[in-house]
């Protein structure tokens, strides 16, 4: 396993799990308690606490305990940095590959027209 050191890497590790990504999406819509999250993702309270702890350590969410309820919310600007570069990179490649698709289609068409289809 890779050793994670920087904040960005910790974030990526935190987001490598589908449940944790789901929790982030959920908190994107509204704050939720650990109990609510556990119910929504059909997990034990202990299981959800572990996920929440990973996300909190990565700085992606913050939690606050009021009385007996621990409320989770998205950390400020949590995902901007992490998602931004992957998304930017993906968009560039999507544009590039869509253009490549056209070039390849044209090559296929030419080959058919030339009647040298193999």
């Amino acid at each position: 396993m890779v050793q994670y050191s920087s904040r960005l890497d910790i974030s990526f590790a935190a987001l490598s799990d589908a449940t944790r990504r789901g929790v982030i999406e959920q908190l994107w819509r509204e704050d939720a308690s650990i109990t609510e999250l556990a119910e929504r993702f059909r997990m034990t309270l202990t299981g959800m606490k572990k996920h929440v702890s990973v996300l909190e350590q990565a700085g992606l969410i913050t939690t606050e305990k009021v009385g007996r309820v621990r409320t989770c919310r998205l950390g400020q600007g949590a995902l901007d940095e992490e998602w931004a570069w992957l998304e930017r990179y993906r968009r560039m490649w999507t544009a590039r590959f869509d253009a490549l698709d056209k070039v390849v289609e044209e090559l296929k068409r030419k080959e058919r027209d030339d009647g040298r289809k193999k």
Binding site: L15, L86, A99, K102, V103
Partner: protein
């Protein structure tokens, strides 16, 4: 690892995966045999038609590709105000129609790029990988949009409008 894919419904989604702390991999399927896709990567008159799609907002001034082991390539972009930016390196592996690899030498810590073309049922499964020497090099290069340096910051804005 984190992976980003397009929403379902796209014809052939492009997926980007940070495979390790030193490597980023892009995957895409093309509806054509590998030899045609390979051709589009290795013939300059074809390569220039897609490598710099209009939406990226850059103008490719010149492109040289000597696609053989040890052969050089060079792309020069117009940055406006009569400034240019060059990307260059050497091909280190050329195996038609399945594998292509080159160095990126415009910076000291450039990646080694490897493209593989795997044909399955008439389709080509393409993977594009950039392997950096260190994690820091990857962060530095990818962080600023596919190895383009900081001067290309305006590019970010343009890319945001894509997709």
């Amino acid at each position: 690892m984190v992976e980003r894919s397009e929403p379902e419904g796209a014809k052939h989604p492009t997926s980007v995966q940070r495979k390790s702390d030193r490597e980023v991999v892009v995957r895409r399927i093309f509806d054509a045999p590998a030899r045609l896709v390979f051709e589009a990567w290795t013939r300059p008159e074809l390569f220039r038609q897609w490598w710099v799609p209009k939406s990226i907002g850059l103008v490719l001034l010149s492109l040289d590709q000597d696609v053989r082991v040890g052969g050089a390539y060079r792309l020069v972009f117009d940055l406006g105000d009569s400034k240019t930016m060059a990307f260059f390196g050497k091909y280190i592996e050329v195996t038609p129609p399945s594998r292509l690899s080159w160095t990126n030498e415009e910076s000291d810590d450039g990646a080694v790029t490897t493209v593989t073309f795997e044909e399955k049922d008439g389709q080509t499964h393409l993977t594009f990988s950039e392997l950096y020497s260190t994690k820091e090099a990857l962060d530095r290069n990818i962080g600023s949009t596919e190895g383009l340096p900081e001067q290309f910051a305006q590019l970010d804005a343009l890319l945001q409008t894509l997709g």
